[in-house]
């Protein structure tokens, strides 16, 4: 298990990086944390002709508060996201999700943006980006562009990124004050890829759920925002009956795959069970935050 030959570029800047990608004839790869890419290269499942190492590009390792968003640069490691005070204060659901991301040593190297680009259907970052209405910042020799996460993630290990493009940052929308949140994940062992996970955001106004956002992973070939299910809960009271009904709808709408670890039926059950817990938790947290009269 040794990687095939490649040409190596230590990019000094974003411009340098995308120029090198453009010169790679369509099979260049960006190396950030390498925690997903390097195993695939060692297995020779990925054999880039050019490997563009962006780890020395300055200023990409920042988490910054912009208007209503947190911006995570391309070299923000999982450990930084997990320990960042802005993340903990403004997006507690992401802070909670980070506890499930791999292991200490992998978190030291792996990056948020790298995980989004890798687009593993059972990894947390693509799902959280969808949940938080993420915006992907993309650079190429042709300039820069942005793209909503829902358009960016197109399939298992597949994104809308062109061969000469790299992701420079991801913006995550900060939920409104008092938004209830929950994150539930199940994996066979701590830190493994999830069999299923769900993240929920909801506000509570006048005793009703508003602006409901539900994202899931492990249940399709990409992480999903469940718009139909969100709509079904929108404006309803957060009662057990409402949650049960919404979960039933959720389960009916899923068509998960069977694989080594889980049959489709089990995955559907698991998705429902995790969603049920998450909906109730998010509702409870929302109530606490708003302190509305009962």
């Amino acid at each position: 298990m040794k990687p095939a030959r490649f040409d190596y570029v230590r990019a000094e800047s974003i411009a340098h990086a995308v120029e090198a990608l453009a010169g790679a004839g369509g099979d260049g790869k960006v190396l950030a944390g390498g925690q997903s890419l390097m195993p695939m290269m060692n297995f020779r499942l990925v054999k880039p002709s050019v490997l563009v190492d962006i780890n020395r590009i300055p200023d990409l390792d920042r988490i910054t508060l912009e208007a209503g968003t947190l911006r995570l640069g391309a070299l923000v490691r999982h450990r930084m996201t997990a320990e960042d005070v802005l993340v903990a204060r403004h997006i507690p659901v992401l802070h909670a999700a980070m506890k499930h991301v791999a292991h200490l040593t992998v978190r030291n190297r792996g990056t948020f943006c790298g995980s989004v680009c890798h687009a593993d259907p059972a990894a947390e970052m693509p799902m959280m980006t969808l949940l938080l209405d993420g915006t992907i910042h993309i650079a190429s020799p042709r300039g820069t562009r942005t793209m909503p996460a829902r358009d960016f993630l197109i399939g298992s290990l597949a994104t809308a990124l062109e061969p000469d493009e790299m992701v420079t940052a991801v913006d995550l929308a900060i939920p409104a004050d008092g938004t209830g949140w929950a994150f539930e994940e199940f994996s066979r062992r701590h830190g493994d890829y999830a069999l299923a996970a769900v993240a929920v955001l909801m506000e509570r106004r006048d005793g009703r759920a508003r602006n409901v956002r539900i994202a899931m992973m492990g249940i399709a070939d990409t992480a999903l925002r469940l718009s139909d299910v969100e709509a079904a809960l929108e404006g309803r009271e957060g009662t057990a009956e409402a949650f049960d009904e919404v979960v039933a709808r959720l389960k009916a709408s899923l068509a998960p795959n069977s694989d080594l670890n889980a049959s489709a039926d089990y995955r559907r059950h698991l998705a429902g069970a995790l969603a049920r817990r998450a909906l109730a938790d998010a509702w409870d947290r929302a109530r606490e935050a708003h302190m509305e009269p009962a």
Partner: protein, 160 residues
């Protein structure tokens, strides 16, 4: 753009300069180019943790790192933790608690635990087990390793 380059890095306090293929894994570089065979290779896909080293003070999988990436970096390996007859404290705790059997996973554990002790809260056994869970040991069932880390964490006191 090149597939071979000369790199200079600091390994266990010594500066090393070598020409390497771009694709050479840091694990192979340490073991076979520098002869630091204490770093072991157990899976080469980042799961087992046997190859864990410290890269600029934080634990990293050397099998998922290219040697060329380590140009200019500071690397610490198990050979830097102590010597026979003068074991470092993590090594000593492993010896006292019988935290190793075949010894193959051990260097990776020692390096991960060095990172844990420097940077992570280890107040409960659950925290210790979670922090250890990126390293596989097939011999010990982890119990004596947890015992060793617990003792080290108590001696360290809480992280400030």
């Amino acid at each position: 753009m090149e597939d071979r380059a000369t790199i200079t890095l600091t390994v266990n306090g010594l500066t090393q300069t070598r020409a390497v293929d771009a694709r050479l894994l840091l694990s192979d570089f340490l073991r076979h180019d520098l002869g630091l065979t204490g770093t072991h290779v157990g899976c080469e896909h980042g799961v087992c943790g046997a190859c864990t080293i410290l890269l600029d003070g934080r634990s990293a999988r050397s099998c998922l790192t290219l040697a060329i990436q380590a140009d200019g970096a500071t690397i610490e390996t198990v050979e830097g933790l102590g010597r026979m007859g003068d074991l470092g404290r993590v090594q000593q705790a492993f010896r006292d608690h019988h935290g190793l059997q075949c010894g193959f996973c051990t260097p990776g554990f020692l390096m991960t635990i060095t990172d844990m002790l420097r940077h992570h809260p280890l107040e409960t056994d659950d925290q210790i087990r979670e922090a250890l869970s990126g390293n596989i040991c097939r011999c010990t069932g982890y119990q004596h390793i947890v015992d060793a880390v617990r003792e080290l964490a108590r001696a360290r006191g809480p992280l400030t």
